[in-house]
Symmetry: C3
Subunit: 317 residues, 3 copies
C-alpha cells in the first residue's frame, strides 16, 4: 500500500516524477475544459480527512485537491473533541472502524508524533500523514521543495537559509531531510540558541554529506542565499528577555530584502504573523503565497499516486 | 469580478432579473427531471464556505443551493477557533492562501463589520458576504424582498412595518436600504427607544425620498401594514426593567394578527424565540417559513450570477 | 413518508428483505466496476446530517453510505453549539427551515429522547433517527441483527447474552426489542444491579413470549451463548466501590473466550475501552469490527428504501 508517512520515504527519481506530474495538473487547472476532464481522474473514489487538531488550511488543501480529481470527501475537523476518542477509543480502533466504511484513503492529522505510522499499521487503505505532532508533515516538505524547483529551475547547488524555530517547527526539519537527497546543497540554519535544530537532523545531514552551518543572526547568511526559508519564532517557547533580544533578528522587512540576491526567493510555510513584513509581499522574490498554492497540484499528484494504478516504472518506496 | 458585498450594490433592473431567475429555479426544483438537469448548471465549480461565526442555517442554505447547481463545496463552520486565525494570521492572508487552492467563489461569514470588503480586496475569486458583524447580510435582505414579491406580487406602494431590535439587527437595516430602491414605500420602524434604527439609515431613506416614521408601539401601525417584518428583541441588550416593560409590545400573537389586513404578510429572518407565538404559524399570512425557503432558489440565482458568463444585457452593478 | 424512527417499526419480512439488499450492496462494493455503478442508485439526491451531539463514527457511516449511492451530503457535527439552537430555536422550527432547502432526507442525532419523532412530525422529508438521547438508535440495532445473520446464518433459535450497562445503553435495549420479532430466542441479560435492563423491555419481551433471565455475572451464561453482545460499563454511572467490585466481571479476555462455544460470536457496538481485551481481536469469533463494517451496506439499503420508489411488495411499516 502506498502510504505517505515521512518525507524521507521518497527517493529522488520519485520526486522528479512527482514534480512533473504536479506541473501537469497545474497546467490543466488553468484551462476550463481540461479542468473539467480532471474530474475524471479518480471518479467516485473516497477520501476521509480525519483531523485531530485544527488545520483548516491543510484540510481545505487536501479536500480541494481531491475534489478537483473527482473524488468524494468526508471530513471531520475536530476529531479529538468529538469522536469516540473522547470515550477512550484508541486511534487503531478508530482506523479499523473507518476502514469498514470503505474509504479509498485516509488523510490523518494528529497531535501525537508517530500517529500516522500507527494508523498505517492497521489500516486497510493508504494513510496520508497531514502532520503528526512535532514529527512529520511530509506533503508540506514536498511542496516546499517543489516550489524551489518551480521558482528556480533546480535544487542542486542551492544555498538555503532555514531560519526561525528549528527545534519545534516540523516544516523546517522535514525540508532539511529532503534537501539531503540533492547535491551540492549548503544549508545555513539560523536560530536563537534555545531553538537550534535538533541533533538528529544534524547527524542525518552529516551522514548524507550535506554541508551545513549554524548561525544566530540572519546576516551575513542572507546575502549569499538562493532560498530563504523563514518560520515563526513562537514567543511562548522562549524566555521573555531572549524573545525581546532576538525578535528583531528574525523579522524580514525591506532592509533584509535589500541585501538579498536578485534571483533569491523567500519561502514560509504560513501562517506568518510578524516575521515577514507586509511590505515584502510585493517583492517578486516573496514566493510564499505561490508556495502555498503549489500545494494544490502537488497534493493532486500525491493523491493520484496513492490511489493509482502502478505508476509506470517509477517504483517509489 | 462579481462580488456580493452589500445589499445597496444592486439596482432595480438587476433585482427584477434576479427574482425572475429565482422563480425559474424554484419551478425547476418541483420537477424531478428538471432537478436533475439543474446539476448541470455549474458542474465541477467549487465553493468554499468560510464561517468565522456559527450559522448552520445560512451555511446549509448556501451549500444546498450550490449542490443543487452541481457545484462542489468545501466548508468550515468554525474558522475563528480552528483556522490559522488562532495563530494570528490576518483575514487577507487567509483569503490569499485559500485562493491558491482554486475555488470558484468564497462564501464568507465573519464577526467583523467590513470583513467581506477586505476579503474581496485581495481575493482572486468572487466573495459572497454571508453576514459580517453588525454590518451587511445582503443575501438575507434580497430573499426578504423576493418574498414580498412572491407573496404580494409587487413591492412598490407597500406599507412596511419593521420592528424589533433595529439598532443591532443587520437584517432589518439591510431591508430598509433595499426598500429605498422602490417607489411609494412607507416604512414604520417600531422599536423601543434604546433600539431605534440608526441615523445612517434614516439619512439614507431621506436622501432617497422614502417616507418613514418611528413608533414605540406596534399599534396602530400594524393595522395598516401590508408587510410586517418582525425581529427579535434581545434581552441582553436592554436594561431589565425596560425589557419587561416592552416585551409584550413586541410579541405577535392571535390578538395582533386579528387586527392585521387580510392580504398582509408576516416576515421574520428566523430563528424566532418568543416574539411570534406558535399559534400564528397556521395563519396563511405567516410567511416566515416560506421566506426562509425562498432563500434556496434565490441563492441559486445569485451563485449562477456570481460564477456565470456575462448575464445577458442586465448589466448589474 | 418512510421515516426510520424506532427499531420496533420494522416487521420480519421487511428485515429479511433489508438484509438481502444489504448483501447485494456488500457484494457490489467488492467490485470496482459495480462500485462505480452504485453511484447511479440515488444520483443528485441530498442528505442533510444534523448532529446535535458528537458521533464522528455514525456520521461518517451515514455519509459514506450516502456517497457510495451517489447522494450529496451536507452536514454539521455540532448543531447544538453552533446552530440557531443556541439562540433558543425549537427543533421543530429548525427542521421546518431545513426542509425549505430541499433535502431528500434528514439524518438526525439528538441528545433528547423522542427528538426524532418530534422532527418527523413536522418534516416534509423522511427523518432517519441516528440516535436520540437514551432512546432509540434503530440503524445500530438493525446492523447488530444483520451481523448475527451474516455471521451465523440465522437468528431464530439463538441464545443471546446481552451484557454491560443495560439501564442506559440504547444499543442493548434496541437489540432486545428487535430480537423479540424472532423465534425461539433466549436472552440472558448480564448487568450489575444498578444497571439492569429496564422494566419496559422486560414487559415487552414477556408480551412477545421471549424467554429471558437476568444475571449479575458473565458465567455460566457465557458458555452457552451463541451470541455475546457486550457493552461498556461506565464508571461515572456507578458508586466507586461497586465499580471496582464488578469491573472484572465485565471484561472479556482470553479466559472468557476459552469457555465460549466454537461457533459463538462476540459483538460490541464500539467504541470499546477496557471491556474487551485487545488479545481477543485475533479470535475469529471476535466479530465487532465486521459488525461495524456491516453498518455500511446496511445503511445503504436503508437509504435506498427511505428515498426509493415503492419497493416491490414488501410493504414495510
Amino acid at each position: 500500500m502506498r502510504h505517505i508517512l515521512r518525507s524521507q520515504q521518497f527517493d529522488r527519481p520519485f520526486l522528479e516524477w512527482l514534480f512533473r506530474r504536479a506541473d501537469d495538473f497545474s497546467a490543466a487547472l488553468e484551462s476550463a475544459s481540461k479542468r473539467r476532464e480532471l474530474a475524471n481522474t479518480l471518479p467516485g473514489r473516497m477520501l476521509f480527512t480525519l483531523f485531530y487538531e485544527p488545520s483548516t488550511r491543510t484540510r481545505f488543501s487536501f479536500e480541494a485537491a481531491a475534489r478537483h480529481l473527482g473524488m468524494q470527501v468526508i471530513s471531520t475537523e475536530n476529531a479529538r473533541e468529538f469522536s469516540s476518542t473522547a470515550k477512550g477509543e484508541t486511534l487503531e480502533d478508530t482506523i479499523r472502524v473507518l476502514c469498514g466504511y470503505r474509504p479509498d484513503a485516509i488523510c490523518l492529522r494528529h497531535f501525537e508524533t508517530g500517529a500516522a505510522e500507527r494508523a498505517a499499521a492497521v489500516s486497510t487503505v493508504p494513510v496520508i500523514n497531514a502532520g503528526d505532532g512535532t514529527g512529520q508533515h511530509p506533503t508540506q516538505a514536498l511542496l516546499d521543495l517543489y516550489t524551489i524547483v518551480r521558482e528556480r529551475g533546480r535544487i542542486d547547488g542551492s544555498s538555503v537559509v532555514i531560519g526561525g524555530d528549528l527545534a519545534n517547527g516540523r516544516t523546517a526539519r522535514s525540508l532539511a531531510y529532503l534537501l539531503g537527497k540533492f547535491e551540492h546543497i549548503e544549508i545555513t540554519f539560523v536560530a536563537p540558541p534555545e531553538l537550534r535544530v535538533g541533533e538528529d537532523i544534524r547527524a542525518y545531514l552529516d551522514r548524507h554529506g550535506v554541508r551545513f552551518r549554524e548561525e544566530e543572526k540572519l546576516f551575513p547568511a542572507l546575502a549569499e542565499a538562493d532560498v530563504v526559508y523563514w518560520t515563526r519564532i513562537q514567543e511562548e517557547r522562549m524566555a521573555a528577555e531572549t524573545y525581546e533580544a532576538t525578535r528583531n533578528c528574525f523579522t524580514i522587512g525591506p532592509t533584509e530584502t535589500s541585501r538579498m540576491r536578485p534571483g533569491a526567493i523567500i519561502l514560509h510555510p504560513l501562517p506568518r504573523v510578524n516575521e515577514i513584513a507586509p511590505e515584502v509581499d510585493a517583492d517578486p522574490r516573496a514566493a510564499y503565497f505561490r508556495q502555498s498554492a503549489n500545494g494544490h497540484p502537488l497534493r493532486m499528484a500525491l493523491l493520484e499516486w496513492v490511489l493509482g494504478e502502478p505508476v509506470r516504472d517509477d517504483k517509489p518506496r
